[in-house]
Amino acid sequence: MIDMSLSHVGASLVEERKSSIQIKGQPNPALKCESSSIAGCVSQRACVYCGARVVLNPITDAVHLVHGPIGCASYTWDIRGSLSSGEELYRLSFSTDLKERDIIFGGEKKLAKAIDDLVEKYRPPLVLVYSTCIVGIIGDDLEAVCRAAAGRHGIEVLPVQSSGFAGSKSDGYKAACDVLLRLIQPRQERQPAAGAMLNYLGDFNLAGEAWIISDYLRRMGIKLNVVFTGDSSCQALKKAAGASLNIIQCAGSMGYLGRAMQERDGIPYMNVSFLGLEDTAASLRRIAQFFNDAGITKNCEDLIAEETKRVEAEIWGYRQDLAGKKAAIYVGGGFKAISLIKQFREIGIDVVMIGTQTGRREEYDTINRLVDDGTVVLDDANPTELEKFMLQQGADLLVGGVKERPLAYKLGLAFIDHNHDRKHPLSGFAGAVNFAREVHDTVCSPVWQYL
């Protein structure tokens, strides 16, 4: 049984949350997940708009226009570390800044004018118009406004159906994928096979992560067509259907697009992970296997050998100091959580608590398979639960986002930033050593001995 009491305050966790918390190894019904947050529980989740914005924002040459009140654009202006090798337009945050009169009389005219002004000023190939909560209520017809603007300007103007209340962050991912599907030109029949060329889905080029993977693929002899959506451009995304394979890293956000492209364009997909040495090597091998080419296979093995050799000793060094420490994980999606379990294992750390904001059923099944008995697994946790279980489980460190960081520090725990505004890559072999170094930096810092 899970102890739901909060002994130090004489209160208890919310009863309704109980079905979203489990301990591995105990007879459990299926973990409740993929459901709405419970009011008043201080969920760490964001909204539909947030999910859509995260996925689409890295498109570098698009105007990202938020149709709504100022806050939604204010809180998402250039807060993420997605890098560009070209255009910088995506780093600006545009808003129609709806006011009371727009709520009463509707915001369509203002939106149309905003698009016109932005197109004139920036000449973008693509304008993405994000819907927010009130737009869903006042009933502005984004589709019509966007279609008319696209006709006027001869560019792509696409609405993103991301009214905040209409689901969760994962529904925002889906809304973003729907936009991308509209953008991608469907594969022509009898289009010749592309050879060894793939799309890489679910990497947002934080701190250059997509560049690292792109370099690996190039060295293997595989051409990277386009990344969804890190460092991507409108033109490149349109041509995505020319690839012969989709590899998907962040399955929570991009699995839907991969499946849809398989159905519509006949492009097979493969789930991969470039987090940690083990997953990176295994993923590269599976990609090589897919193309079934002796040259690619040899290049792949050479690359894995060379890169592993480069970082192995350093990681092994950190492992000496870290072995036996206990980690707590609370991240956005299931893919990241799963990869982290393995990555911690590589440096001798056991996971004692693990949860996600928007993990899916099958991801929780995998998590449950991977973790040790006694590990607390929880979905859509809140600060009270995180505090309780991190302390109860004796965690030495937490992996999380910006909101979780101060909680860990106040509890005297080490912390790993696995969020979108970090400034160091965690992907590939280079990322694996960064990760180990970061864990070492925080867990072995001298500051803890003064607490």
């Binding site: 806050g71 809180y75 202006w77 009270t384």
Partner: protein, 461 residues
């Protein structure tokens, strides 16, 4: 003529300056002892605001949400809000709860006054302080949301109180370090006080072995209730309109005399505060404060020639913009662009009224966004920016150094510890400003002089 621009006509905002109204209204509740807040709206609103605030203060910011979903948007969010309050009380057991609305709640017409009334009745909670504050994101900016929440809290909690010695202090959103400094000044002047809101401990809490989900500290409810018995209110909201002014409310409804002063940054503003404190308490100015004043003067003299090179962009919340602009003028730094994301009728009129002929070339921007601020800064040849982290593009794109002050500061540590008020705080702010100018000058000095004056044979350059 003063050059004013109201950007209200524009159809699109590029890189927003203000944040939304409910964000501002969260902060006063964080400055009350054992308080919690619930945002009546979509789950994301609470999360975005928590993230934004947490990043500035480096403190856990727990804010609940009624998590309205599609169903709630159609049938009303009343059940969600009531359930949210139940859960919030179970998890946090607060002594007071603020209920803030959002765009969504206001647009679907949620009557939070009625819902809170019904809730208290249904749960038998009697006089429990539930404080509803209407804060639609499409209404006013975070600055006004902040003051509206203060006013609502005071008007709800204030009780007829017989006269006592505690002066009411009401501040805009200043750093916890600033609030500690204001308290120190009052203590040195032998003045008792009720500081509201008081985030000096709650949003800059010391590390302790035991973690408190609601951080210790904050203004006591009993002290807020007793504000009508104060000998005076000192409110640092010089530019605030009366309809949002908590100090004005206490004066009009309870007869507490109001001294509505500028934020005490800059020599004159600090002098004004001490004069008022002297007037209210009858106590002489403390000797140690006079020595601090002397040190500020000494610093102003030491730096005046460097400061004379300063051509500044000043942006942010109206109260801070007023105080910083005056401080620049006291030190010979030219304010070229003075901007706020808020709609504020008084700010520019007060500034030009006080220092008109010094601001002839100044560009004033109301309801500004950062693209317009940047454009004017570039056109005017600014070499210094003073404001929050949101001005970082001024440095990245225009190479204008940014002295960080205000909220939010999310790309540097220590926003909560920045001290800028009082004679000592002003000295520290002035040093930060002067040093930014010096660093900029030293970075460009050799090349600039070479490019300007060298006309000999080009060697290897």
């Amino acid at each position: 003529m003063v050059n004013k621009e109201n950007d209200n006509f524009r159809s699109v905002t590029e890189n927003p300056c203000p944040m939304c109204m409910p964000l501002g209204a969260i902060l006063p509740f964080k400055g009350i002892e054992n308080a919690m807040v619930i945002i009546h709206g979509s789950q994301g609103c609470a999360t975005y605001m928590r993230r934004h605030i947490a990043e500035h203060y480096n403190e856990p910011i727990d804010v609940a949400s009624s998590s309205i979903s599609e169903r709630g948007a159609v049938y009303g969010g009343e059940d969600n809000l009531k359930k949210g309050l139940d859960n919030l009380i179970q998890l946090y057991n607060p002594d007071i709860i603020g209920i803030l609305t959002t765009c969504l709640a206001e647009t679907i017409g949620e009557d939070i006054e009625r819902i809170s009334h019904d809730y208290l009745e249904e749960r038998g909670l009697g006089e429990y302080p539930l404080i509803p504050v209407p804060t639609p994101g499409y209404g006013l900016s975070h600055s006004e949301g902040y003051f509206l929440a203060l006013k609502k809290i005071i008007s709800r909690l204030a009780r007829p109180t017989s006269g006592h010695q505690k002066i009411n202090i009401i501040t805009p959103n200043l750093s916890p370090a600033d609030l500690r400094e204001i308290k120190r000044i009052f203590t040195l002047m032998g003045a008792q006080y009720t500081l509201f809101p008081d985030i000096s401990d709650t949003l800059d809490s010391p590390y302790t072995k035991a973690y408190h989900k609601i951080p210790e500290g904050g203004t006591r409810l009993s002290d807020i209730a007793a504000m009508p018995g104060a000998p005076a209110t000192i409110q640092f909201a010089h530019t605030l309109e009366d309809n949002l002014s908590p100090g004005h409310y206490l004066e009009a409804a309870c007869g507490v005399p109001l001294f509505n002063l500028p934020v005490p940054i800059g020599l004159e503003a600090c002098d004004s505060l001490l004069e008022v404190l002297h007037q209210i308490t009858g106590n002489p100015i403390a000797g140690s404060l006079l020595r601090e004043r002397g040190r500020l003067l000494d610093a102003m003299i030491d730096s005046h020639k460097y400061n004379a090179q300063g051509r500044s962009v000043i942006f942010g919340e109206p109260e801070l913009v007023y105080a910083v602009t005056r401080t620049c003028l006291e030190n010979g730094i030219k304010p070229l662009v003075v901007a706020t994301g808020s709609r504020n009728k008084n700010l520019f009129a007060l500034l030009t009224g006080k220092s008109g002929n010094q601001l002839i070339d100044t560009r004033f921007l109301s309801e500004a966004d950062f693209t317009s601020i940047r454009m004017h800064a570039k056109a005017k040849g600014a070499n210094l920016a003073i404001g929050s982290s949101e001005g970082r593009f001024l440095t990245e794109r225009e190479d204008i150094p940014l002295v960080r002050i205000g909220f939010p500061i999310h790309d540097r540590v220590g926003g909560q510890r920045l001290l800028s008020v009082g004679y000592t705080g002003t000295t520290m702010l002035l040093d930060r400003i002067t040093n930014a100018l010096l660093e900029d000058q030293q970075r460009h000095y050799r090349l600039n002089m070479y490019l300007n004056y060298f006309s000999g044979e080009q060697e290897t350059r």
